[in-house]
């Protein structure tokens, strides 16, 4: 004890730098540990089921990078995943859980496809922006229902956003089988949108649709908004300490509602991009599992808007790799969902380890 008191107290600057460095070390260390541990458990499951783990993991990790086709597929998957991750993470910045990205994506797709079919003769320069804006607005309005229920009536936002998902499934089923049905599809789907509503491709073969660039723009815009503007700061303040923000005169519930609406708009944009870039129409099941992947990415990024695109890319690699794993090693694709959930759980556990460790050091 006496040793400590005689030592000169270190100046604050090196301590801060040291803490930052150790924080960075902990962060990278916990990600590496979680991914490795999850893959080990995944491999054990694969062995237990009687498949070849080396071949399975190899195809999960290399498919995206071995061919240009795999890379393009990965980037096309990345777009809805990253947008759904923002739809989850932006409301989470204010402490609210938006589990409705699925519904917002589908309703956004409905808005986009409505423009694309009704105004199919317009040229690209006019129609495409309309499709995208319609998607954003439709998604924002859909999430707005949950926001109004939360702000005005105190309804738990988790429940309202989830229940709206189930309403949206029926809604798009109705649109795809009654309003603009494609009778020859053999599966509820709308007729294709006009050529002017399709996102142009770049590069190739195979070409990448421009939606990838749009998603990058959204990433930068969201980061700037949340980190560099007053309203973004207010949102984070509400998430960090709602009581203190209220005392300081912030309209906390309104900011929380705003977060959900903006998240919904981004979810809607994901739907419009899927229509304009990938399918060229709206079809049942187009939401895939983007809701779950978005939530996983949002939780793995742990509140950092800048980390989301990177984590989302990793998840997109896993997803594309998973379907090729099913082809090459016959391991069911559902295994990857378990691996992703495990990565998340191990990340949470590494937080616990860190907390214990730091308590002991201090």
């Amino acid at each position: 004890m006496s040793v400590q008191t005689t030592e000169p107290t270190p100046s604050p600057a090196p301590v801060a730098a040291e803490r930052k460095a150790s924080g960075l070390l902990w962060m990278t260390g916990s990600y590496v540990f979680s991914v490795l541990a999850a893959f080990v458990v995944g491999a054990i499951i694969i062995v237990a089921l009687g498949y070849d783990p080396v071949r399975a993991i190899e195809s999960i990790l290399t498919t995206s990078f071995s061919t240009s086709f795999g890379m393009v597929e990965t980037l096309h998957k990345w777009v809805p995943i990253v947008l759904c991750a923002y739809a989850f993470a932006i409301p989470l910045a204010t402490g609210k859980f938006n589990i409705g990205a699925e519904g917002q994506l589908l309703v956004g797709a409905t808005g986009g496809v409505a423009m694309g079919i009704l105004l199919s003769d317009l040229p690209l320069i006019v129609l495409l922006p309309m499709v995208l804006v319609a998607g954003i607005l439709a998604g924002a309005v859909w999430a707005g229902i949950a926001a109004v229920l939360m702000v005005r009536f105190g309804v738990n936002e988790i429940l309202s956003t989830v229940l709206l998902n189930f309403v949206s499934f029926q809604l798009i089923d109705y649109v795809a089988s009654h309003v603009w049905p494609d009778a020859g599809a053999g599966h509820p789907a709308t007729v294709p949108v006009g050529d002017g509503a399709r996102l142009p491709g770049i590069g190739g073969p195979p070409p990448i649709h421009v939606g990838v660039v749009l998603a990058l723009v959204v990433c930068v815009a969201v980061w700037l908004w949340v980190r560099r503007t007053p309203s973004g700061f207010e949102m984070r303040a509400v998430g960090a300490n709602p009581r203190a923000s209220l005392v300081h005169g912030l309209r906390t519930s309104r900011l929380a509602g705003l977060g959900i609406v903006v998240g919904g708009g981004i979810g809607g944009l994901a739907g419009a991009i899927e229509v304009a870039g990938v399918h060229g129409k709206m079809l049942e099941g187009m939401q895939s599992n983007f809701l779950i992947l978005g939530i996983i990415v949002g939780l793995m990024a742990r509140g950092s808007m800048a980390a989301i695109p990177v984590v989302a890319f990793g998840i997109a690699v896993l997803e594309v790799g998973a379907s090729s794993m099913q082809r090459t090693a016959q391991v069911p694709v559902e295994l990857v969902l378990i691996v992703q959930a495990l990565i998340l759980l191990f990340l949470l556990l590494s937080d616990v380890v860190r907390r214990r460790f730091e308590r002991r050091v201090r």
């Binding site: 499951i45 089921l49 859980f97 229920l149 009536f153 105190g154 309804v155 738990n156 988790i158 429940l159 309202s160 989830v162 229940l163 709206l164 998902n165 189930f166 309403v167 029926q170 809604l171 089923d173 109705y174 089988s177 009654h178 779950i292 939530i295 996983i296 939780l299 069911p332 559902e334 295994l335 990857v336 969902l337 378990i338 992703q340 959930a341 495990l342 998340l344 759980l345 949470l348 556990l349 937080d351 616990v352």
Partner: protein
């Protein structure tokens, strides 16, 4: 009169998944553990219950294994939130994904993709002697499978435990004010973990009931949001077992009516009929949420070393 009896006789089995899962949610929620993985646990319970029943040939074994597997998830949730104080929603969501993945993986591995899914016999009904002979009432209430009776007896037991015993009082204190419960010698951590395990296993049984009564087989979409409706139900019922029964009757009634309307074909496209239960829930929540009571420490972890009040 006959049609009413027939309707009630249909509503009662439809209530069972709601009652069991909602009482499970209430059981863990009153101790302060807010489980949000219900939807996943029900899917997992349905898959496990179906697969075990199919391979063993006994529905009872299927129900128990489903309860055990879901209880294991409840144990993970309980330990991660009480001992390690991780956020309950985030752990719940992670377990939801894990349960969904595990359910589809198990089914895919055990059955594979076939055009003819394997079938299990649906639960037989056990008419209660004497009581089932009462005209109308017997048909309505006393001619069902065993899990229907179980669900109602269990609700009664839960009410009796929570409000009529000392243990129940201590149990509720863990969700209302864990600090004072702790200071009076109640083991808050153990209570929460046990409640979480038992609650989750009830949700698993609720899931297992679905393939055993409705279809005789497992499909991935068969839970269809019931897990989330159940959480809404717990809130609407004010986390009290007696009101859960009334709420479950409402949800089950909507479900049966929607099915009826779909079969009868009443002019409106069936998609809008199928939307109805969800929209009705949203509307009811709009009016009921402000006044509904909930445990004060619901979803919040208790840190006995914390110096902050509460």
């Amino acid at each position: 009169m006959n049609e009413i009896a027939e309707f009630v006789a249909l509503v009662l089995p439809a209530m069972v998944p709601f009652v069991l899962a909602a009482q499970g949610t209430v059981l863990s929620g009153r101790a302060g553990v807010f489980n949000v993985s219900q939807e996943g646990l029900m899917v997992l319970g349905a898959a496990v219950g179906f697969l075990v029943s199919y391979s063993v040939g006994s529905n009872a074994v299927g129900v128990f294994v489903a309860a055990a597997v879901a209880g294991l998830f409840g144990l993970i949730l309980g330990v991660m939130t009480t001992n390690w104080r991780l956020d309950q929603f985030i752990v719940g969501l992670a377990l939801y994904f894990a349960a969904l993945g595990l359910a589809s993986l198990l089914y895919r591995v055990a059955v594979g993709t076939t055009l003819e899914p394997p079938l299990i016999p649906t639960l037989e009904s056990y008419p209660i002697p004497l009581l089932s002979k009462i005209p109308y009432l017997g048909e309505m209430f006393f001619d069902h499978d065993l899990l229907v009776y179980t669900a109602f007896v269990l609700s009664g037991l839960l009410f009796w435990f929570m409000y009529r015993t000392n243990a129940g009082l201590r149990f509720r204190a863990c969700g209302e004010n864990p600090r004072s419960a702790d200071s009076l010698g109640v083991n808050v951590a153990r209570t929460r973990i046990v409640a979480s395990v038992l609650g989750a296993s009830l949700v698993g049984v609720a899931g297992a009931y679905l393939p055993m009564v409705y279809t005789g087989t497992f499909t991935e979409g068969m839970v269809a949001g019931r897990g989330w409706l159940v959480i809404a139900l717990a809130f609407l019922g004010g986390w009290r077992p007696q009101y859960i029964l009334a709420g479950a009757a409402f949800f089950a009634g909507m479900e049966v009516l929607a099915l009826r309307a779909q079969v009868a074909g009443i002019g409106i496209p069936h998609q809008f009929v199928l939307m109805l239960p969800y929209i009705a829930t949203l509307v009811v929540m709009m009016f009921a949420f402000r006044w509904a009571r909930q445990p004060r420490f619901l979803g919040q972890n208790y840190d006995r070393e914390s110096r902050l009040a509460g």
